[in-house]
């Protein structure tokens, strides 16, 4: 699937452009530059890679080659609720693959993908650093330990409830004005 840049992302790309000029034109800065792009835009669209290549005066294929080598970089936009499942050793022996499958089934996407409405993305990560709580899943910054398939349901319910609450607050605010 090809994701065009949203107006918001175009703005972020502009911001990255300004930031880019603060980096010295030195090959050693390639990875910090890519990290800064991803921090700004949440992923690396082709335009960002082009900008990086232009700034350092190296072929874009070279930039792409480096970016794809590392696990940190992603090339499709993450969802509004990025879901990360730990598949580290401790989580693996507590059946984290079953947790991953549950998320995939529920959302109808595979790991590494984002739902069409860009609400959710599913990703696997290695050891989050709290193996005592295995298996572990992250939704945004919130961490859920001792996961089980039924907790997957619970997480979605919670997201749904929170969404509706914030909508309600929003509309109340509007009607108050």
């Amino acid at each position: 699937m090809v994701y065009g840049l949203t107006p918001e992302e175009k703005e972020k790309l502009e911001r990255f452009k300004t930031k880019l000029s603060t980096f010295e034109k030195n090959r050693k800065n390639l990875i910090p530059i890519l990290q800064s792009a991803q921090q700004e835009i949440a992923y690396l669209p082709g335009q960002a890679l082009e900008l990086a290549a232009g700034h350092l005066d190296i072929p874009i294929s070279e930039v792409y080659g480096v970016a794809t080598f590392y696990n940190q970089f992603r090339f499709i936009p993450p969802g509004k609720y990025p879901i990360k499942i730990c598949l580290g050793t401790a989580c693996h022996i507590k059946s984290s693959d079953i947790i991953l499958e549950n998320f995939e089934r529920k959302l109808g996407i595979k790991e590494g993908q984002t739902t069409e409405d860009r609400q959710f993305s599913v990703e696997r990560v290695a050891c989050v650093g709290c193996c005592a709580l295995a298996p572990v899943a992250l939704v945004g910054d919130a961490l859920y330990g001792k996961m089980s398939p039924s907790k997957v349901e619970g997480i979605f319910t919670r997201i749904q409830v929170e969404k509706e609450m914030s909508l309600r607050v929003h509309s109340e605010n509007e009607s108050n004005q």
Partner: protein, 646 residues
């Protein structure tokens, strides 16, 4: 003249110590609430616990000092809190699993009313005659802390606390000696690199000192790519200054002016804490130009790694710092001759560098008195998996696996049987029960077929499947292979395909020979440690657990009842209770159905074998069973027209 300049660092440190004392004395008289706030604590809810304490303190109008600290290593008990309420007459007390409700109660009853809530106490922090002390538990008293001594005791974001705990004294004693003397001390201590290979640190430093060239560099390797280990990250998060001090000692010894900490961008807390520590150290003149008024100049920068296991390998690490793909290159030249930017570079693991201050302060003889002849000092493991007291453990080298797993970490939960322990992550090996009396040191573990590696230790009970664990690690290494060597790139892929086949019950007898040969070829035909050790998990399990492979291949049976292609769940109709519906409700795929007798059955076609029904089934009934091979499960037909039928 000479004498004064020699004394200068000590005098300057004394001035900082004075400031530290002053800062700390400000809240010395208040009751103290200490909360572990490293990654594991936060994951268990330590931040919510902290807010609950804050709220309760203001609600009950009680004054206390909330002291954030790092990880003490007892991750199984998080959020772990220590409360010291001197006026109550009780010693400092540990409370485990302190969630907001408990926090509020402790403020109200202990700080407010002087009742320490006995039923919630984990143990006292000191021996006393009122409350049993934690030092009576093996998990506390068998540890020997050299590197992690101050982890979980001090606030990692406050330089003064490290100073008050004796910090930077090692650096001062190093600066009072000529560099050669420092190297000699490190050499005498017998300190071996904790990054896996166990190379003597003193020799490495000597080589870097002797290497021709200017602008020498110290790099702290905190890449920690093992997917089930988190010691290095925890040390950076809990006591960053000890690592900085170690790096400065190394800089003095080899004559470097620039240092880097290579830490993963995916560890944001560690990055933040270490970055802050660097700027605090600079402000107090402990890093930067003319350190403590001497001629020593040393600056440290953080380089954020982008997450590739192979970048833990030293030459790949340098490649990635230079803006390339992290692909290892041939050695020699070694980094100590030609490293980052082609300059002589010492690359040491976090724990190696963090050991240096203590060695300088307490002397090489003291360090040698801990651990064994060939492997002095301590080992830090993250002990995880099927073990009661999981977390980080620092033990003297030489104690046995049995002592570590059973005495210190409390053994296997739920009265299950021990099956295997995997040591050293993707490069290590799986050891069976008969190796439990192997002493933990670099050489004994290697002899047994495992290796110290990163310090990841995963304990597995009888329900684990060794073949699947081997598959898991090969899956990881084949993913992380940089692709330079054919054997590593393609060989691991073939091994993975074969192992997958075996776990799916499609294995052939000759597969085992093939795995063995492929493994040996990959080991011999790869350039770097990743490829050379990638087959280890498979080769050791083939050696020690051949019967598990045979069961999969010959009988289609997974002895651990783990491999999903080889097992089936069914419901024992004699045990199933008529009215109960929990398994139907919890099944994510509507595979559980109600039979005409209102008992339940499982539709094998739909079952994804998540085991949720087995967990949900009340223990009084215990009606859900798991069998392997799968055909042993009795067939119960789904009645036509039952809900969920398509």
């Amino acid at each position: 003249m000479n004498r004064i300049s020699e004394a200068a660092p000590a005098v300057r440190l004394a001035a900082v110590q004075e400031k530290a004392r002053e800062a700390i004395s400000q809240h010395a008289t208040l009751p103290k609430i200490e909360i572990g706030i490293a990654t594991c604590g936060i994951a268990a809810g330590a931040l919510e616990t902290r807010s609950a304490f804050e709220q309760a303190l203001s609600e009950f109008n009680i004054k206390a000092y909330i002291h954030p600290v790092g990880c003490i290593g007892h991750c199984y008990a998080e959020p772990l809190v220590k409360i010291h309420h001197p006026d109550s007459g009780f010693p400092p007390i540990f409370y485990h699993e302190v969630h907001p409700g408990k926090a509020r109660m402790l403020v109200k009853q202990f700080l407010g009313g002087g009742d320490p809530c006995f039923e919630h106490i984990y143990g006292a922090a000191q021996t006393n005659d009122l409350i049993p002390s934690v030092s009576e538990f093996a998990r506390f008293n068998r540890e020997v802390r050299v590197v992690m001594e101050n982890c979980g005791r001090i606030n990692p974001e406050d330089l003064f606390e490290y100073i008050a705990a004796g910090g930077y004294k090692g650096l001062v004693s190093a600066m009072e000696m000529p560099p050669e003397e420092v190297i000699r001390k490190i050499n005498e201590s017998g300190l071996r690199g904790r990054g896996g290979a166990g190379f003597p640190a003193g020799i490495k430093w000597r080589m870097a000192r002797d290497a021709p060239g200017t602008g020498k560099i110290v790099i702290c390797n905190a890449d920690e790519g093992d997917p089930g280990a988190y010691m290095d990250r925890t040390i950076l998060e809990s006591n960053p200054h000890q690592v900085l001090e170690g790096m400065a000692i190394c800089a003095h010894a080899i004559g470097a002016q620039k240092g880097y900490i290579y830490v993963r961008a995916e560890y944001p807390l560690a990055v933040r804490i270490i970055t802050r520590a660097i700027s605090q150290a600079k402000e107090s003149g402990l890093l930067g130009n003319t350190i403590l008024g001497s001629a020593l100049t040393f600056d440290i920068e953080v380089f954020q790694g982008s997450g590739a296991f192979v970048c833990g390998e030293e030459t790949a690490l340098i490649q990635s710092m230079e803006g390339y793909r992290g692909m290892p290159r041939c050695r020699p030249p070694y980094p100590v001759e030609k490293g980052f930017d082609d300059r002589p570079t010492v690359i040491n693991n976090v724990k190696t560098l963090a050991s240096a201050p203590a060695i300088l302060m307490k002397g090489p003889e003291w360090y040698r008195s801990v651990g064994t002849e060939g492997s002095p000092g301590t080992a830090i493991f993250s002990v995880v998996g099927d073990v009661v007291h999981s977390g980080l453990v620092e033990i003297p080298m030489g104690i046995t696996l049995r002592e570590l797993i059973f005495d210190i970490c409390g053994g296997i939960p739920k009265k299950k049987k021990f099956k295997a322990v995997q040591i050293g992550g993707p490069s290590g090996g799986c050891l069976p029960e008969r190796f439990l009396d192997t002493p933990i040191d670099f050489d004994s573990l290697k002899q047994a077929g495992a290796m110290m590696g990163s310090g990841g230790m995963v304990v597995m009970d009888e329900d684990a499947c060794i073949v699947d664990v081997a598959r898991f690690f090969i899956d990881f290494t084949q993913n992380e292979s940089c692709g330079k060597c054919t054997f590593c790139r393609i060989g691991t892929r073939h091994m993975l395909d074969i192992l997958k086949r075996i776990t799916e019950g499609k294995g052939k007898e000759e597969d085992l020979m093939l795995l063995q040969r492929l493994g040996e070829d990959i080991r011999d035909g790869s350039l770097c440690g990743l490829g050379k050790t990638a087959p280890n998990p498979v080769l050791t399990s083939l050696r020690y657990f051949k019967e598990e492979y045979d069961a999969h291949i010959l009988e289609g049976r997974c002895p651990g009842l783990w491999c999903r292609h080889l097992i089936a769940y069914y419901i024992d109709l004699d045990k199933c209770a008529r009215g109960c519906d929990v398994c139907v409700g919890c099944c994510p795929t509507d595979a559980v159905f109600t039979t005409s007798t209102r008992k339940k059955g499982i539709d094998q076609e739909r079952c994804v074998k998540c085991g949720e029904c087995m967990t949900a089934c009340p223990p009084d009934y215990n009606a859900v069973k798991k069998v392997s091979p799968a055909h042993l499960a009795p067939v119960i037909p789904r009645p036509a027209g039952s809900p969920g039928e398509h």
